[in-house]
Symmetry: C2
Subunit: 107 residues, 2 copies
DNA sequence: CGGATGATTGAATGGTTATTCATGTGAGGT
DNA sequence: ACCTCACATGAATAACCATTCAATCATCCG
């Protein structure tokens, strides 16, 4: 069984199914993180403050998002700043993310 | 922890998180089914023929989609015809589904 | 009424994934 | 150097989920 809805990861060249990407997004915490990042980069402490989850748990979720290349991280002093990956940023105004296989808009 | 991204199920009145709906979609088989149904209603045998999964497995997935009210089913003689639920059908042309909390377009 | 076709259900199993706890790392302040 | 703040990692556990098998239900036809 193989879905037609696949897209090629730019960096690895491996084929990533749309379902796999959606699976990353299909989590309350991770979706909330993406929501936050739609309004701009934030460091972990800020994300954590707005979501109110355990820090270590958030860290695990951030790693899943990073591995899926939905977000990018860079260090800034003691903080680590997360932002939406360029590849998923929607060009049109309004909150939307582009997964390659599909576009998700949060009306 | 509670996401802002929630929507109220019309029939049950219960609150359904966006993540939960995405979780239903985040599966190769179920996503492929939705893809098929975007081009119109089909009965189980037809879906099965185009996907090539075990019939009983498809049935389980169809139940998940039904429970999530993403698809509707009606009996037609020996067949059972599945179609996209009205509530998720996109009004704009092009293949898209409306989850309430967000809109997913398959470009 | 059988029997055949088309589809659903339930139980069992294995694999995946979220969560927690304990620990480790990196950077700035004193 | 030491301590503290900010975050990440790894292992362990528990919950969940997809898949398979066996059995059942519904409809049509001879």
């Amino acid at each position: 069984m193989k879905s037609e809805l696949t897209v090629v990861d730019e960096a690895l060249g491996t084929e990533v199914s749309c379902a796999k990407v959606l699976k990353v997004l299909a989590d309350e915490t991770r979706l909330a993180v993406i929501e936050q990042l739609l309004s701009g980069p934030m460091h972990v402490g800020q994300i954590n403050a707005s979501l109110g989850v355990e820090q270590t748990l958030l860290s695990h979720h951030l790693r899943v998002l990073r591995d899926a290349r939905l977000v990018a991280s860079r260090r800034d002093g003691k903080h680590v700043v997360y932002s939406l990956a360029k590849s998923v940023q929607g060009q049109r105004r309004g909150r939307a993310i582009n997964l390659g296989c599909c576009l998700i808009s949060f009306d």
